[in-house]
Amino acid sequence: MSLLKSREAILALAIVALLAVIASRFPAFITPRNLAGVLTDTSPLILLALGQMAVILTKCIDLSVAANLALCGMIAALMDGMGVPLPLILLAVIALGAGLGAVNGLLVWRLGIPSIVVTLGTMTIYRGAIFLLTGGAWINAHQMSDAFKAFPRTVVAGLPVMAWIAIAIVAGFALLMLRTPLGRAFYAVGGNPHAAVYTGISVGRTQFAAFVLAGALAGLTGYLWVARYAVAYVDIAGGFELDVVAACVIGGIAIAGGAGSVVGAVMGALFLGIIKNALPVVGISPFWQMAISGSAILIAIAFNARANREAGRIILKQAEHRT
């Protein structure tokens, strides 16, 4: 418990320190208005990181989330073009995303193919499907209805709907992870798959559920992304899957499964989001961006590993008192 706390405390400190450094060069960055903007910008990353967290907890990885997002986003834009009302589009993308996740999940569950292989394959297939669907054509702002574009940016109580959606889902996820059998099953399956079978939890079915969840979130994010940036094409969110995994890792989700928290995943996403947002603002040459975020990832991993290091067993009485 104390380890968990300290891991998240370190990350929270890092975020505060990061903000302080940025603020020292560019005070306007930490105005509430701008921070709200950063939160909104980071919402897709937060949503996907939560889904990815469920998957990683079960000892899997989903490299297809960004492609899933792009495909669902494109479908959303196409549906909008056909005049489908927005609520229906939302339902459709969530269902489609869940369906694409289910394909991953089924291949992992029923055929026992390692998730990294499955999602490496479906990643290209889902993205390719967008190309087949559209011949590669873009859908631009002027081809989208105003209602479609306006929904995520409508401001409610000072924050855009997009940020509210992220906040609501974070809360829902926390409840799911801590207080429902499914949430606990994610931890159990990743923590000790062997033991999970003995307690009547089906490893495959739980992994399947994680993929469906991640897929549904990717579908929802697909719509949000396309509506927010007002463009849909084959390559949107290209390479985003690595950012998502990085966010989870920075947030202390153990890549070997079974350990990690919702708070961690969200903070990991925020950490990356702040870096990405701040660099152009602080005026650091764009050519430095990549190296800086790479170093940030490495430092975060090193910190997590330190916080996580297995202390030797405590046998000596005198050692016990010291801890």
Binding site: I61, L107, R110, L111, G112, I113, P114, I116, V117, V118, L120, G121, T122, M123, T124, I125, R127, G128, A129, F131, L132, G136, V234, L242, V245, A246, V249, I255, A256, S285, F287, W288, Q289, M290, A291, I292, S293, G294, S295, I297, L298, I301, A302, A305
Partner: protein, 333 residues
């Protein structure tokens, strides 16, 4: 020890129940070979341009550089680790070579620097993974950004061009008739890695570590050292690939070799190396590289867009792995 009989001598246990040949015939490599042959035949039927030695020779560029790295990656994955930074390591190697070239270095220096930078990248990953015990998949996601990021810092929006003419040999030269230099490097690498993984003590240790690293350590194997060497090897192969690719493109930009890592991993997995570590073979990887080359070239001749090819490669990856499992599932019903 003396050979005094201790316990009542046990029953005789046979060495093998299945002969190595019979095992090979039922292996993954055999399946891949059949797939490769089928694609070859399909290609020659589909396009009149396919069976042309020069065209086939050109086609090898689609996979040689990736496959070189795939051999080292295969060993790394057998040992239960992975390196996603290879594409970025290429960019960094190429950038360092470009810097040296701009400073007037000749081809031998460029080659040495390319190899050296590759080794340094590998050593950095190896240090973080083997020495500090960090998980390789996330370490190399980090170094993936870091290595390419350094190239961007150095190059910005400019490019290095004007490599010496003699440097062009690696990526554009021919050794004999249509046999390219790259193809020869690929073949030599295949043989060396095949021998190292399958015929040496080192290779055996790699398998042991991949199956159970703890037990391997408890058996007196220097697990960290082996892993470190594997990362070094992967870095070295990235360096060689960087030399070939830079020479072939005749220029260096920081975006060079973007996305290589996933294609390399795809070749390795298609080649039957278990992503969970502990099993797979180099011949499998060789055939998988050929399959990938044949598929992309064949579809290219039909002007199929690259993304459609990648759908097919993705489908092939899942299909080739899924089919045998589906088959046993159905048979068990």
């Amino acid at each position: 020890m003396t050979d005094a009989t201790v316990t009542p001598t046990g029953r005789q246990i046979p060495d093998r129940l299945v002969s190595p040949l019979a095992r090979a015939l039922k292996s993954w490599e055999m399946l891949l070979l059949i797939v490769a042959a089928a694609i070859f035949i399909a290609n020659s039927l589909a396009s009149p341009y396919f069976l042309d030695p020069w065209n086939l020779s050109d086609a090898t560029f689609n996979f040689t550089e990736k496959a070189m790295i795939a051999f080292a990656m295969a060993m790394l994955i057998v040992a239960g680790e992975i390196d996603l930074s290879v594409g970025s390591a290429i960019a960094l190697c190429s950038t360092v070579m470009g810097l040296a070239m701009a400073a007037g270095a000749g081809t031998p220096v460029l080659v040495l620097l390319g190899l050296g930078t590759g080794l340094a990248c590998g050593a950095f990953n190896g240090l973080l993974v083997a020495r500090f015990g960090l998980p390789s998949i996330v370490v190399t996601i980090g170094t993936m950004s870091l290595f390419r990021g350094i190239s961007y810092i150095v190059l910005g929006d400019s490019a290095f061009t004007g490599y010496p003419a003699s440097f062009a040999w690696f990526g554009q030269g021919y050794v004999f008739w249509v046999i390219t230099v790259e193809l020869v490097i690929f073949a030599i690498a295949a043989v060396i890695f095949g021998i190292v993984l399958h015929r040496t003590n080192f290779g055996r240790m790699v398998y042991a570590i991949g199956n159970n690293a703890t037990a391997a350590r408890f058996s007196g194997i220097r697990v960290e050292r082996v892993k470190f060497i594997l990362f070094l090897l992967t870095g070295l192969m990235s360096g060689i690939a960087a030399i070939c690719l830079t020479s072939r493109l005749g220029s260096t930009r920081p975006s060079i070799a973007t996305g290589f890592e996933l294609e390399v991993v795809t070749i390795v997995v298609l080649g039957g190396i278990s992503i969970l570590g502990g099993s797979g073979s180099i011949p499998g990887v060789v055939i998988a590289a050929l399959v990938m080359g044949l598929v992309t070239f064949g579809l290219g001749l039909l002007n199929v867009p690259g993304i459609v090819m990648s759908i097919i490669v993705g489908g092939l990856l899942i299909g080739v792995i899924a089919l045998p499992r589906l088959w046993t599932m159905i048979r068990r019903r």
